[in-house]
Structures are given as structure tokens and as C-alpha cells.
Amino acid sequence: MIEVNNLHKAFGEQEVLKGISAKFYKGKTNLIIGQSGSGKTVFLKSLVGLHEIDKGEIYYDDRRLAEMDRDAKTALRTEMGMVFQGNALFDSLTIEENITFSLGMFSKMSTSEKRDRANFCLNRVELENVNNKFPAELSGGMQKRVALARAIVMNPKYLFCDEPNSGLDPKTAIVIDQLIQELTKEYNMTTIINTHDMNSVMEIGDQVIYIKFGKLAWQGSSEEILTTDNEDINDFVYSSELFKKIKKKL
């Protein structure tokens, strides 16, 4: 479980996160939604330690992030996997090298063991015959799958995904969503996903958190999101004509 208490983060004069508190549970896909510029990415990057927070506490299964020394943080990070918005695959490495990179850094696996693990992960995200290709040779959807394979290669306890559907067609987006959900259940991971895609919310959102102007404005399940009276979340969800029609039918 990941627990966040009273998280604050500012860049200069601009306060981006204004005291967010939340709990993210194991084996669940926790979705963070909000408009562009609401602070979702800063929140996610603060959780993984890419941004130093100004105030507040972050706990990883009772381990407080701020109290960890360098070695403890490194150990924690080997328990994390992250899928970045733009995939962040290493351009100069092949797909197999990308996936086995952290195994090379932090495990004592032999080359053949690493290859087997890479093949297992590629198979898990339904990709084959791409081991020796470079990221630039793959489509956006395939790159996203590789990023997911790289994120799960170390059997992470915590999976973070920043806009995993951005730039993907609706069909591929659903496939990626379902893959993330399956992997979350399979490995019993605590998964946190940043998105503003309402299809993802309805498809895989076990817990949904809505952030508005750096504050937690609403929290609930994907079923509750359609029936809640909360004005903030309704403004966000029913800004789309499709969801307005769904709301009328409900």
C-alpha cells in the first residue's frame, strides 16, 4: 500500500500540490484523473521521488520515503516500475537491452537468464520477434507494451503509469488498460495510473481520485463516478457529450 499525507509541492511561487492525502491499495488499479495542469504528473513524480516534496509524508508499506538513505531508496526503486507518458525507452539500446537493463544493474542473472526473463515479459505483453529491434522501429502501441514489459521485469510491488494511453487509438488504449489491470491482479501490485481518459476510468478504475487545482476534490469507485452529486467531478466527467447522454439514461 502507498499512503500519502498532506502532500505539498511548489515550483517557485506556483503551488502545484496543495495538501493531498490519499491511500492506494495493493492489487487495485488506482486512477488519478484531472484536467491538464491540475497537478497529476507532479503528484506521480513526487510519489516516485523524482520531485522533492516541500511538505507532507509518503509511506511505502510503512516505510517513510523521507527517512530513507540512498541505499534504502535504491532498494525501494527496484520494487517500482514506471511507464512514462512518452515511454522513455532508451533509444540507443535494443528492445531486449531496454527490458533487461535493470536486471543487468541489480541482479546477478546470467545473459541467458536475462534473455529468458525478457522473452517472458515480452510474451506477457503479447509481443514477439522484437528483441533485436530499436525503439524507433516500433509503433506507438508496441513501444507502450515494451515500456510495460520493462516496468514489470523486476517483479515490482508498485507500478506507476503516466498517461499510458496518450497517443494511442481507442482499441490499442483498451488493450493497454486491460494489460495493466491483469498485471496488477496477477502480481498483486499497487498500481497508480494518471489519466484523463474516461474510457480507462470506466474500464479499469478500482479506485478513482480526482485532483483539481492541486487538491483532492473527489474520491470513489468507477461506479460511483457516474452517480455522485459532487459538482467538481460532474463538471469534469460530463464535459463530454457521450457521458452527458449516459447520465440522462441513468
Binding site: G49, T74, A75, F84, L89, S92, M105, F106
Partner: protein
Amino acid sequence: MNKGIRAAGQYFLLLARTFKRPENWREYWKALMRDFDLLGLSSVWIVSVISIFVGAIVTIQTALNLDDSFIPDYYVAIAARESIILEFSPTMVSLILAGKVGSNIASTLGSMRVSEQIDALEVMGVNPASYLILPKIVATVVFNPILIAISMFLGLLGGFLAAGYLSDIAPADFIQGLQLEFNSFYVWYALIKTVVFAFIITTVSAYYGYYVTGGSIGVGINATKAVVSSSVAIIVANYILTQVLLG
């Protein structure tokens, strides 16, 4: 002023992060081999071509300036030798490398920064500053002196060829000039300068690449800043080292 102090502080903090214990020596070794190829071996041809021609040009110009029946021909070789060993090879070639290697380092790291590859390394638990910059520093500090030694040899060879074919200086006179009053410390002085310049090129360029902001335009701007700043730093360091080692 404040901006300059902040940048200097950020530069030294980056150096402190760079010189941390590697997570895995074998992976760093692989990165070092890649950087030897990318930053060292790939520069051999440009250094060679430039050195041969500049060596020839320096010799021809020196011969023109010393064209006097009271000045022995071997003086041309002495002057060309000192110019090439003391200044052209270590300083001018380092300035050329600041353009080639420096822009490569800044743009590579900058692209990695804007495409979140550096963040990805950090999330994996890898120290990105150390993994990305340390092998580059080692590669250039080790390989640039080899490049400069090649440059010295080819510069003098270019001078020898130009002297013989274009300036009517007898080969024996030129070789006599190359050997006469040769001070071997000058070679050490050149190599010491090269090591310092290699460190400057790599760390200054890495600093500009590592802290890129503003997307692909930012990468271009910082790559240019990296070349300009490392070139200026090389010239300033050249003056200080010359004062310290030869003054």
C-alpha cells in the same frame, strides 16, 4: 550574477553526484566502451585530417616568415614543432573536440532529459548522473591525450611533407630542427593541458545537457551553450596552466 552563482553551484552538485560509487561496475564498463567508440575513436579521422593540414600550413607560413639567408632552414622546423606541440595540438584540437564531442554529449543528454529517459533511470534506482556522465569523463580523459599524441605526430608529419615539397627545405634540415633543443617537458605540458581540457569539455557539456528545459528547442540552445562555454573555459584554463607550468 545570482544566476551565475546558482549555475556554478548546480555544476558542482552534478559533479558530486557523478563521482558516486557505481551500482554495477560491469554495466559502467559497457557504457565506457560505448563512449570510447562514440567520443574517442570516432574523432580520430577529423583530428588526423586537421592535424596534417594545419602542420603543413604552420610550416609553410613559418618558412615564409623566416625566409632569410642568415636564418638556417632548421629553424623552421623548431618553430613549427613548438607551435604544434605547445599550442595547436593540445589547445586547438581540444577546441575542435569541444565542438564535436561537446555538442554530442549535450544533445544526447538533453534529448534523454526531454524524453524522460533520465527520469526512467532514476526510477529504476540508477544514479543517472553517474551512469551517463562518469564513463564519458573517463573516456575523454583517457582517449583525448591519445588523440593529441596522434595530432602532434601527424602535425609534424604534415610539416615535414610541406617543408620538403612546398618550401624547398631539405628533409635532413627539417629533421635536425625537430630534434634540436627538444624539451620533452613540453609534451608533458601539452598532455596535462589535454587532460584538463577533456574534463572541462565533458563536464561542462554534460551540465548543459543534463539540465535542459524547454523541449527540443532547449536541447539546441543548450548544445550551443555547451560548446561556447567549454571553449571559453578551455582558453581561460589554457592561460592559467601555461602560467603555472611554464611561467
